[in-house]
């Protein structure tokens, strides 16, 4: 690396600054209040400012201290499939129902590991579906449709 900085410190510092700034900016829309009756904006503004300051300090400390280790490769496939699955689960659990969502989610997550073949992922998905059904629906009496309203052709 040509630059003599810790990329990690810069990046985390930037994240803290970004979060802090968001909280401060958003809280300016809320009432700040008085010391007697502090408004909903009081604490977030103060803490947000502190977070920005800490972020600056973290970033500043990174100068002159490059990271010791080379960064690990980004697990793009994992990030996309694992997070995608979670979002998919949330978006469809009410509509598609338990069984299709668990099957698809199980398959997609299993595929995020390069060590699983398609067949293995399918087996994992089916296995998980049975297991989750047994534990949550049968065992804990979770109230969720097996096949959701989006698939409701025959039911009514």
């Amino acid at each position: 690396m040509a630059l003599n900085v810790s990329k990690n410190d810069l990046a985390s510092g930037a994240m803290f600054i970004a979060f802090g700034a968001y909280f401060v900016l958003e809280s300016t829309r809320y009432e700040f209040g008085t010391p007697f009756r502090m408004g909903p904006g009081f604490m977030p503004v103060v803490l947000g400012a502190v977070l920005v300051a800490l972020g600056l300090a973290v970033a500043a400390k990174g100068f002159g201290k490059p990271d010791d280790e080379a960064p690990a490769p980004w697990p793009w496939r994992g990030i996309a499939l694992v997070l995608g699955t979670i979002v998919f689960f949330a978006a469809t659990i009410r509509g598609l129902g338990f069984i299709p969502v668990v099957l698809i989610s199980g398959f997609a997550t299993a595929m995020s590991s390069t060590r699983n073949s398609i067949l293995q992922a399918l087996v994992i998905a089916v296995g998980l579906c049975v297991l989750c059904y047994a534990i949550f629906v049968f065992g804990l009496g979770m109230l969720v449709p097996m096949f959701g309203p989006w698939l409701n052709f025959a039911g009514a």
């Binding site: 109230l143 052709f153 025959a154 009514a156």
Partner: protein, 326 residues
């Protein structure tokens, strides 16, 4: 291909219509869910579970209680408003149903038009209490003391729109003064601070206060209902203390989504009335410091009337106090 699809669709439509007709006759053919818009273990949850157990005996189907808490009960209520109106998803909500329209500007449902009423369930009286070394001795003293000291008195409540806050608003309104409101996350922590003498006064339902009052841990001044109550017969009503027509109780009602088949509603009302007449339910309610409403109150008409009246009342009180969540 197209015809096949159309025949299929027609068949489906027919079976749907048929299905509904049959369902009304045989209702219920599957477990009924009552949504409680609060966490399990709270007073509303307790009331619901007692009623649900008795109703399930009468309906011959399991009545399941589901807790959907959050946003002052509006999340659970919104969920039921959007649920299919087939009689299998019901809502048991308390007084918050009538204050929500005044407290939340962007409510995803209208309590009056999005629900079909089934009946009132119970009314829990509240008590006006204070730390045990609080100066005033009687209700009369208290009234004078509040008028005199106003903002120097700290009044605990369980947050925006909670019954304990409404009670305080009504008292301040009647006495034309302001106390310093100290909000808490629920009446439990508020009671802790009252026991510890950290704050001066609060209003809470008998369920939470009776035991503490009887043990002499806190001072009680009055009940908020028009009549004195059996568990605490020595407590005067606020009306007796000069706050005319003071009437506040935490009432609970049972609702179905709007458009539910009237035959189903009728069945549910009958089941509710039977549950409320159940001796077990009565005894358990008595332990809670409350009582089931009379059969003529456990009706759609009575609940609709109550709801309409309360919505009007609270919109005035809440607007006057300048409180609103958003």
């Amino acid at each position: 291909m197209k015809t096949v699809f159309r025949t299929l669709a027609l068949g489906l439509a027919a079976s749907t219509v048929l299905g509904t007709a049959v369902m009304a006759q045989e209702y219920p053919t599957q477990p009924v869910t009552i949504v409680v818009p609060f966490a399990a273990g709270g007073p509303t949850d307790t009331v619901t579970r007692l009623v649900a157990a008795a109703m399930s005996e009468d309906l011959g189907q399991q009545v399941v209680v589901q807790n959907v808490g959050g946003a002052g009960g509006t999340l659970g209520a919104g969920q039921v408003a959007a649920a299919p109106n087939d009689g299998y998803t019901l809502l048991l909500h308390h007084i918050g149903m009538s204050t929500a329209p005044s407290l939340y500007a962007s409510l995803p449902f209208d309590p009056l038009t999005d629900f079909a009423t089934i009946g009132l369930v119970t009314e829990v009286p509240m008590t006006v209490v204070a730390r045990k070394d609080f100066e005033p001795a009687t209700l009369e003293d208290l009234v004078a003391y509040i008028k005199e000291n106003g903002e120097n008195i700290t009044y605990a409540n369980a947050g925006i729109g909670a019954a304990s806050q409404l009670c305080g608003l009504l008292i301040m309104d009647a006495l034309e003064t302001k106390m310093t409101e100290v909000p808490y996350q629920g009446t439990g922590p508020a009671m802790t601070d009252l026991l510890g003498g950290q704050i001066d006064m609060m209003c809470d339902q008998t369920t939470n206060t009776t035991n503490q009052i009887q043990a002499g841990e806190i001072k009680a001044y009055a009940v908020t209902t028009p009549e004195r109550i059996a568990v605490l017969p020595d407590l005067p009503t606020l009306s007796e203390g000069g706050l005319e027509n003071f009437n506040l109780a935490i009432w609970h009602g049972l609702y179905a989504p709007a458009g539910t088949d009237p035959a189903i509603i009728e069945r549910l009302t009958a089941s509710l009335q039977k549950a409320l007449a159940d001796e077990n339910v009565g005894n358990s309610f008595a332990e809670l410091g409350t009582y089931p409403v009379a059969a003529d109150q456990a009706t759609p008409t009575a609940l609709t009337e109550k709801l309409e009246g309360q919505i009007a009342l609270w919109s005035e009180v809440i607007a006057a106090a300048g409180v609103a969540a958003q």
